[in-house]
């Protein structure tokens, strides 16, 4: 088992004819992901790495009724339309890779998705991988291996860093989810903690947070409130970030006196979450946690 994506995930690529879309379609196919179709308005009839391209999501779905998941590489000014199209056409999971989407747009489609029972991962994220089953994202597949740790992260490369160490230690991952670096994201840390809680394969969860907002604080509060049964290890990036500066991600900013790393670390520790001071320490804490149960 895994969460969000698995061997029954049938993928549509929106923006498949673009540079990124085409490159990652190939990489996903090589990983073994079942990519059935792509969409770029006006480019229907072409094919990209053997994947047929359609003009609309509706057309793709009518030809490939198995499609249940979409990954979006559409540029920011058009991404929100692509999300609505995916939702309206019945996709269950939408992975939104696109960066720089205005927050007023994402606020709306994330709300719409919630009302329609659709899960959005992102925006501004590396996607989801359930090693050995499916990769719906842009992460390097080889740093992941099938195993028992669930990863939730607001970052991309930092996830690979930690995943690689978990792989080397022989623990592997059940599913790794990059929820995105924007101020407002579809799936939150709590959403993912809930899914990993039900997942038999997942024995421990790693949360990779960063400065900005209060998602880590809320995750900590959730862990405490529900007496989360599985061990959780966290890492928070940005301990040395100055207030008021956006650190690369739109969401990574300490503003109005809130969102600094110390507050998040304190909240985690108060909820019994083990917090690593370096990415490498995550594995050590995971091993300790799994040993002590």
């Amino acid at each position: 088992m895994a969460v969000l994506v698995d061997k029954n995930t049938y993928v549509l690529v929106q923006g498949i004819t673009g540079r990124e879309g085409s490159f990652h379609t190939k990489a996903m196919l090589e990983y073994g992901t079942k990519v059935l179709a792509g969409v770029t308005p006006g480019k229907g009839g072409q094919s990209v790495h053997g994947v047929p391209v359609y003009d609309s999501v509706y057309e793709a779905v009518s030809r490939h009724p198995e499609l249940n998941t979409s990954i979006i590489f559409v540029p920011s000014a058009y991404a929100s339309d692509a999300v609505y199209e995916a939702i309206d056409a019945g996709m269950e999971v939408v992975v939104l890779i696109t960066e720089h989407i205005p927050v007023h747009d994402s606020m709306k489609f994330i709300r719409y998705a919630r009302l329609r029972g659709v899960r959005i991962v992102g925006p501004n994220c590396p996607g989801v991988i359930s090693p050995g089953e499916s990769k719906v994202g842009i992460m390097p597949g080889h740093v992941f291996s099938k195993g028992k740790v669930g990863i939730v992260s607001r970052s991309g490369t930092l996830t690979y860093e930690v995943a690689h160490a978990i792989t080397k230690a022989g623990l592997g991952q059940s599913t790794a989810v990059g929820i995105g670096g924007d101020p407002i994201t579809g799936m939150s840390m709590i959403d993912m903690l809930e899914m990993f809680r039900e997942d038999e394969e997942t024995e421990a969860v790693v949360l990779i947070g960063e400065i900005g907002g209060d998602m880590e604080e809320r995750a900590a509060e959730y862990i405490k409130r529900c007496n989360y049964e599985k061990p959780v290890v966290a890492f928070v990036a940005g301990r040395t970030a100055p207030p008021g500066k956006r650190m690369g991600h739109a969401g990574a900013i300490i503003s109005m006196g809130a969102g600094d790393a110390e507050g998040k670390i304190r909240a985690f520790e108060a909820s019994g979450v083990r917090v690593a001071s370096t990415p490498a320490e995550v594995v050590k804490l995971l091993k300790d946690a799994l040993r002590s149960g």
Binding site: S155, T159, A258
Partner: protein, 377 residues
Amino acid sequence: MKLYEYEAKQLLSSYGIPVPEFGLAKTPEEAREIASRLGGKVVLKAQVLVAGRGKAGGIKFAESPQEAYEVAKGLLGMEIKGEKVNSLLVSKAVDIQRELYLSIVVDRSVGAASILASPEGGIDIEELAAKYPEKIVKVYVDPLVGLKAHHVRRVVGSMALSEEQKKALHDITLNLYRMFVELDCELAEINPLAVDRDGNLVPVDAKVIIDDNALFRRKEFAERASAELSEFEAEAKKHGFSYVELDGDIGIIGNGAGLTMATMDVVKLYGGRPANFLDIGGGARADIVEKAASLLLMHPKVKVLFVNVLGGITRCDEVAKGLVNALTTYGKGKRLVVRLMGTNEDEGKRILNGAGISAFDSMEDAAKMAVELARVM
């Protein structure tokens, strides 16, 4: 991007929210002229983006045009928390009887706009929340539904106001929300929203932050945003890098915001001081890496450049090529520490070895080396 107070007030005014008449002065002469046009007592306010200008002496009153001239002379050119004062907002002084608070903000926790209103204003919202948490009314507005009459009733009802004032606050709230949505605001704040001697509601100070990601459709602000950057920031932005200036001596380059931040943190953990944060993003080719590395090697404060790359879509051989090129041209008197892992790692390490650089496998070991080098240099 943050707007100056005068810009925020121009926007309020264009959205039908009356603000006290004002002018913008860049010289003491202009301040005198505006003061004489306005007549009576005026307030001169330093136009800076940092918070806390009042306590730093950036807001002064003047009884006459001549006094306004003298006050402006002192204010213009002064520094407030490192920011130079280039212009002053000169406005009629408001005879404040009461101070209210009103703002609309993108609430990250709920993913919706949130209206914050309080009958106590004039101090920061953080301070307000600490001092009078029970007096702050928070009204969430569903982004799909928009502002409804009941939202506004709650806002208006939260303050003890006369019927006429209620009507005025009702209009202000509607207009502020319209502006918040139409201009892609992250924050639209009126604080204080004063009640003057005649009982009118008057925005005395205003803050607006526009979503950087929406600047492509807010061209009027986009130009300002790029004009504000320092030389290094502008150069970094031109190449699509995320760049933040810090005050240490170890230049940091990483791929991906989280990894770059973590790199910075680890350097600090081992006793070093990062000079900056530079994220080259995903999939950077040799020429892009060369530009990033050159930029930091040219930076006068950078003694050691620490590059931490975890190759996914970014290829280590491209990174290595870019670094070697930058080092050849700009590396004199500087040291380079590299951590490379991932796609084409062996080829990347071979290229670096050819230039006499040995790359680390672990970011922690690499960080220790960078800190040690910066210490002895």
